[in-house]
Amino acid sequence: MTDRALAVVRAGALTTVQDRGRPGHAHLGVPRSGALDGPAAALANRLAGNAPDAAVLETTLDGCSVRPRSTVTVAVTGAPCPVRVDGRPAAWGAPVRVRAGSVLDVGAVVRGVRSYVAVSGGIAVEPVLGSRSTDLLSGLGPAPLTDGAVLPLGPPREGHGGVDVAPQPAPPAVLVLRVTTGPRDDWFTPEAVRLLTSRTYHVSPASNRIALRTAGPALERARREELPSEGMMLGAVQVPPDGTPVVFLADHPTTGGYPVIAVVHRADLPAAAQAPPGTPLRFVAVRRR
């Protein structure tokens, strides 16, 4: 079979194409985008024999089903979920052979939020500014998957990496995010900084690829004037007028006018991507290196 494509049987609640994103264009107002749980996406690619920059599918809570038109190797990582091929149980977190015309079903998550589905050859939609990622803030890249859509696949690599199984971190029961304070902690009362790093917040259902939103103690500003727009960064803990902090994820706006009280360590953001609504969340202050 030479018809390298993937038909979408069940798109799921929100399934997008993601790779490592398009960093380097923030000065044009272009978000970085890319897989929220980068290590899980990278592992899926390794298991499927792909290069690390191949595009994968990122599902949200209820998975998706796809039918490859040629025989492929797939791997499902990230949030643990049942995996089936033509209704028969198959492995999660390991390479799985799917014959042409068979249906791969990635089920609803058991824990976590986002599963990653790598297919040998990678999803080969046309890149935009060097990336195939769907950017839900600005609409760049391919639209989220819809039932019946057909996605092209790239050519599989000869002789893949040979990884059969690999350990993966479990989605967190309590999400602990290390932060360094600033750059605008001086726009808040000392009490606000203390509250942020000592009280328990919860992950809000309003969270998405743009930001992890929270519920918890409101943070009071010491300076009330408007902050002129300034550059925003991945992991920024921005505080809008209602006082509840939001943590910027991959599709965040590149500039913003609300002060950033602290910044989350990048290494902690994949866990943030896997914390479902209601997860207790603590921000832990860490001194700058």
Partner: protein, 209 residues
Amino acid sequence: MRVLPVGRDALLVEVSSGDEAQALHAELLRRRAEGSLRAGEIVPAARTVLLDGVSEPGRLAAELTALRLPPVPPRAAETVEIPVRYDGPDLADVAAHWGVPAGEVARVHAAAVFRVAFCGFAPGFGYLTGLPARYDVPRRPTPRTAVPAGAVALAGPYTGVYPRSSPGGWQLIGTTDLVLWDPARVPAAVLTPGTRVRFVPVTASEPAA
């Protein structure tokens, strides 16, 4: 100049005016081009420049604190011309804020030379400065749910052109047919930080592109 640490590998450099921010941005781009500065992103804004993805933020911060800023270098003669029909629904309100007859808004706006201070809000959306401070206008009290692509609009000290239809609270003074953002084109953005811009009035019957 104040250098604020941001997370573990970024710095926010704060200056006291938009002009200084533009001069700083130009200087940082020059240093990155010559290889003396390494940064993944250099993002100018109203009063700041964000340096993201720097390897030794502590050392760089010390270096930047001692930096004496050269004036904004005169850019190569190139000026982007944006044809515009001054037919926006907020012309009368803007004229009232400015204290001029409605017909004067187009003349004043088209006489100014603008510079893209920074981008944001949407890919290809530039915040343009160039009008004297007495022409600052507030945002609309109620934002519109849909501003059409190509709308030329004012808010605060800025002029902007909506690259695609979106909600917005800026005062609409005109329309252009010029496509300011096309990711299939190289470069994708017509307006990049530092670009000089003029608005050229066209009449209703002419294409504004």
